[in-house]
């Protein structure tokens, strides 16, 4: 197995800045001077402002809406209701999971915060003032606030408008082999079970969601500025929903202030703003407040999970059984591949080798906001990774085996790759034992266990939590993965100009990941064009090739591959031009670090810049002019990044407060294009994992009121609480990716929650504590200690 790290892999000089260089980010120049261009910074001539009236209750029939007073307010241009939208066939829209969602409510409201009406005015404050003047009468219905309640016989029907829907069930789905799993459980020495709830969370990027719709009533041209992680897919969906000709729709996704999955769906506000602009003939801007963002746009998680491991007494896993019940909110609007009802949750077998697994998943409608977005994860892998890592940890306690040893006993071995998992995944590459061994050595595991024992004797609580996660990212391949029918390939278009400077255009869209630098580095690596000479463009559907967008860690695995492949296409043509300039046969030309030379005589060479000029000034006869190409990349498989995370905590038994003493994170994401950016991504993900394990959740009272509708109630960790991280790496390249990269944007969010929780549970394991649901608030930890101590 080839192992490289960034220093041994580097083939280019720092000036060229190819793969492995810590190139400082090109995009930073505008951000550090306040010259970013986020949605709310855009101001168009004649622009109007829209505000949305939302339901104050979770479930009610609308008996009347009176907009007369609002419409009469000076400065109000229009008041839009569901009735008006319905006249244009736009009161409902399809979701990314094949359901429908109300744009503006016509019959009932189904969650608190649902869109009821909109006001368009000359000033944003006037629009908000006018909302106060709209009078809506509601006839309240019982609110359903959990999926268990939703599936009780006789529960009030939330989706009564939906033909054929007789209960609140959204889907039933299963994966794996039930018979083989049952047989393995029948011969098991022990069965270890864990029921845990992964609570509802929200990605809450610092910039909320919004749109500016500018529809020209004469030409029909619709330019829609959108906080969009997937502008091309959104254009197609706009064409399908609104019936606008696709060539007349231009989606511009400007600088995004974070996304984390929150900016994948199409929200009602986008549709209403577009309809309003179409009807009024002026640009209409809508941008959410933070509360609107938290109560109505794509939530994440909300999975009730029960897992069982069939085990031998000496710690071998024989099989896994999982039952999962998901709270979908009022509309099934998960952003996920069509074939899979619970995303890629069935990757739940994790980093371990056993022959059988059976996963049963169900989803239910509740009176909560819809969404189910992959919050910084590849389609529900976060929930899966959490469950298996918590289960393995608990199995170790029950069998009296060290939690690290338990993992070594069951790891998929390096020689087993490509590894066929019992639920149908084909893991591409990895060396899990080396990864965990290295992380354990770094943290000083043996000494920590000794310290823990001594501390316990002293009445102090120290815990060591381990998680070894395996992700599955970078969808396609297109034969298995699509979103709303659109195959999950991605694209890159590269043009090298006469002076040797290049423009790279991509179908993906950065939300802070540094695409303008990373993807330029791939071109620099492949063609030897200095990274500062490559401009990267994204986020404008009229000026970039079609792609499915940035989420599920797919930009590097898919668009990164497309960038390498289009660069190689250009290199082939460049070799023919170089042969012409060197008066040699193109078969004899080699390209290395931007120099084309005749094999065996490196002194006889031309540069990529010479070749670029010749492509426009001195072409060999019969060859098409220019140095330009496009590549649509359909990955042959997902990539499988992995890592070993170890958290050391100290728990105060008197208060339940826990503090992270160490967080050692080893990531293997294959080849690292820009190690600096990779480390930044990991820092961010480890923080989000800490957030979910310690404080960040959205809950509801029995009436369906959202608790967590602002940053005072929905806690985001500050610098003060956030742990310091120690990063490690190994590098087992992806065998099928053109540059061996696997993607890393979400690894730490996926892998780390179990590490933090396992650490706290480990501190209390000797008391018999086996589970505390997230977030591990001090009172929950304290109560667990009290209960365990009787």
């Amino acid at each position: 197995m080839t192992k490289v790290d960034d220093t041994t892999h580097m083939t280019t000089t720092a000036e060229v800045g190819g793969i492995g260089h810590r190139v400082r980010r090109h995009e930073d120049a505008r951000f550090i001077e306040g010259q970013g261009n986020y949605l709310d910074d855009i101001k168009l001539p004649g622009m109007l402002h829209m505000a949305i009236l939302r339901s104050p209750v979770a479930h009610a029939r609308i008996t009347s809406i009176d907009t007369s007073e609002a419409a009469a307010l000076e400065g109000v241009i229009a008041v839009v209701t569901g009735e008006l939208m319905d006249q244009h066939g736009l009161a409902w829209m399809p979701t990314l999971s094949g359901d429908t969602q109300a744009v503006l409510a016509t019959d009932k409201v189904r969650y608190q915060g649902q869109e009821v009406a909109a006001v368009v005015a000359t000033d944003p404050a006037i629009a908000v003032d006018a909302l106060e003047l709209i009078v809506v009468e509601y006839d309240e219905l019982p609110a359903i606030t959990s999926p268990q309640q939703a599936l009780e016989p006789g529960a009030v029907l939330i989706r009564d408008e939906k033909e054929g829907q007789t209960d609140n069930r959204v889907y039933d789905w299963e994966a794996g082999d039930k018979a083989a799993t049952d047989a393995a459980f029948a011969r098991a020495d022990r069965v270890v079970e864990l029921s845990t709830f992964y609570p509802r969370s929200h990605p809450s990027p610092l910039e909320t969601c919004g749109a500016i719709a500018d529809v020209n009533s004469v030409t029909g041209q619709a330019t829609i500025y959108l906080t969009s992680q997937a502008p091309h897919a959104h254009r197609t969906l706009f064409a399908m929903v609104a019936g606008l000709p696709e060539q007349d729709i231009r989606i511009i996704s400007p600088d995004l202030g974070g996304g984390f999955g929150n900016k994948v769906p199409i929200y009602p506000g986008y549709v209403v703003a577009t309809a309003a602009s179409l009807l009024i003939g002026r640009p209409v801007k809508w941008i959410e407040t933070r509360s609107e963002n938290l109560i109505s746009t794509g939530f994440a998680r909300d999975y009730y999970m029960k897992g069982q491991l069939a085990l031998t007494n000496d710690g071998k896993i024989l099989a896994l059984r999982v039952e999962m019940l998901s709270d979908q909110g009022a509309f099934y609007a998960d952003a996920q591949p069509t074939k899979f009802k619970a995303g890629l949750f069935h990757v739940v077998t994790g980093s371990y080798d056993y022959p059988a697994a059976h996963i049963v998943c169900s989803g239910a409608y509740t009176n909560k906001a819809p969404g189910g977005v992959a919050y910084r994860c590849s389609f529900r892998i976060t929930e899966a990774s959490f469950l298996i890592e918590r289960l393995v940890q608990n199995a170790a306690y029950e069998l009296g085996i060290d939690p690290a040893e338990m993992r070594f006993k069951n790891f998929i071995q390096p020689e087993q790759f490509p590894y066929h998992s019992p639920t149908g995944f084909v893991y591409d590459s990895g060396d899990y034992p080396t990864s965990l061994r290295k992380a354990l050595d770094e943290v000083g595991y043996a000494q920590l266990r000794e310290e823990q024992a001594a501390a316990r004797a002293d009445g102090r609580l120290i815990g060591i939590g381990i998680a070894h996660f395996t992700e599955a990212v970078g969808a396609g391949p297109s034969h298995t993965y699509d979103i709303a029918g659109l195959k999950m390939f991605d694209s890159a278009e590269l043009r090298v100009h006469p002076t040797g400077k290049a423009i790279l255009k991509l179908g993906v869209k950065s939300q802070g990941q540094g695409h303008e630098t990373t993807f330029a580095q791939i071109v620099a690596e492949e063609l030897g064009i200095p990274v500062t000479d490559v401009k990267v463009m994204e986020g404008d559907t009229d000026n970039t090739p079609y792609g499915l967008g940035t989420y599920a860690s797919r930009s590097t695995p898919v668009a990164g591959a497309a960038t390498a492949m289009v660069s190689r296409k250009l290199a082939e043509k460049a070799k023919i031009i170089a042969a012409h300039l060197l008066e040699a046969s193109s078969d004899d030309i080699e390209l290395k670090a931007g120099e084309f030379f005749v094999r065996g005589t490196p002194s006889h060479s031309v540069t990529i810049q010479d070749v670029s000029l010749a492509a426009y000034t001195n072409m060999p006869e019969g060859l098409e002019h220019g140095l330009e190409g496009v590549h649509y990349y359909d990955p042959p498989n997902l990539t499988y990044p992995y890592g070993s995370y170890i958290v050391v905590v100290e728990v105060d038994a008197e208060t339940g407060v826990w503090k992270v003493r160490r967080m050692v994170a080893l990531d293997d994401c294959g080849v690292r294009i820009n190690p600096m950016i990779v480390e930044g991504q990991i820092h961010g993900g480890l923080t989000e994992g800490f957030a979910m394990s310690s404080m960040q959740w959205i809950t509801f009272d029995d009436d369906g009121n959202c608790i967590g509708s602002n940053f005072m109630d929905y806690l985001i960790p500050t610098a003060w609480e956030t742990p310091r991280f120690e990063l490690l790496e190994t590098c087992v390249p992806s065998p099928h990716h053109p540059i061996g990269a696997k993607g890393v944007g979400e690894s730490a969010t996926v892998g780390s929650p179990a590490a933090y929780v396992n650490a706290v549970i480990d501190a209390l394991a000797h008391l018999g504590v086996r589970n505390i649901d997230m977030p591990l608030l001090p009172d929950r930890v304290w109560s667990a200690i009290q209960t365990a101590q009787g």
């Binding site: 400082r24 980010r25 995009e27 930073d28 120049a29 505008r30 951000f31 550090i32 001077e33 306040g34 010259q35 970013g36 986020y38 709310d40 910074d41 404050a125 809450s204 990027p205 610092l206 910039e207 909320t208 600088d255 995004l256 202030g257 974070g258 984390f260 407040t289 933070r290 509360s291 939300q511 802070g512 990941q513 540094g514 600096m676 950016i677 480390e679 930044g680 820092h683 961010g684 993900g685 480890l686 923080t687 989000e688 602002n710 940053f711 005072m712 985001i716 500050t718 610098a719 003060w720 956030t722 310091r724 991280f725």
Partner: protein, 155 residues
């Protein structure tokens, strides 16, 4: 009401409603969009500016309260065509990702360095604990502010 605020050295006089927030005055009247809005509750700090040299969340200050004051925004950090050390340090140390919290972080950091030329890790973390970042996990922001302090002291 007529409100006059000196923003980055340039006088901005505008007739505004009493309810207009300083952040809106800066963004829509003065036309400087580097100051961002991230929440409605003064928790996130994306709107942080310096009011007579002191960091404030400009969503918590009415424009009328700033009448006669001097405001520095991110656009005012650069002087005579040269980046402030804090700006260069954020780029050099990868202290930003999406860039939305960055103006507030840099302004708080620059104010900290004024009073504390050698801030410890805890000093920096306490100073920026009113500013949220969803991307970086704060590690590189802390490093950037400390690096800016070091290069300011050297200058």
């Amino acid at each position: 009401m007529e409100v006059t605020v000196t923003v980055n050295g340039s006088e901005q006089a505008h007739d505004v409603e009493p309810r207009v927030l300083l952040v809106d005055f800066i963004r829509t009247r003065a036309g400087l969009t580097g100051t961002h809005i991230g929440c409605d509750t003064s928790n996130c700090g994306a709107c942080t500016v310096l009011l007579d040299g002191t960091p404030v969340k400009s969503c918590t200050v009415l424009a009328v309260q700033a009448d006669g004051c001097a405001v520095t925004t991110v656009e005012g950090l650069k002087s005579n065509g040269t980046l402030r050390p804090i700006q260069a340090a954020f780029k050099e140390n990868h202290g930003l990702q999406c860039g939305f919290c960055t103006p507030g972080m840099m302004l708080v950091g620059s104010a900290l360095i004024e009073t504390n030329p050698e801030p410890s890790d805890d000093d920096v973390r306490w100073a920026i604990s009113g500013n949220l970042c969803r991307c970086t996990g704060y590690m590189n922001i802390v490093t950037a502010i400390q690096a800016a302090a070091a290069s300011t002291a050297d200058a």
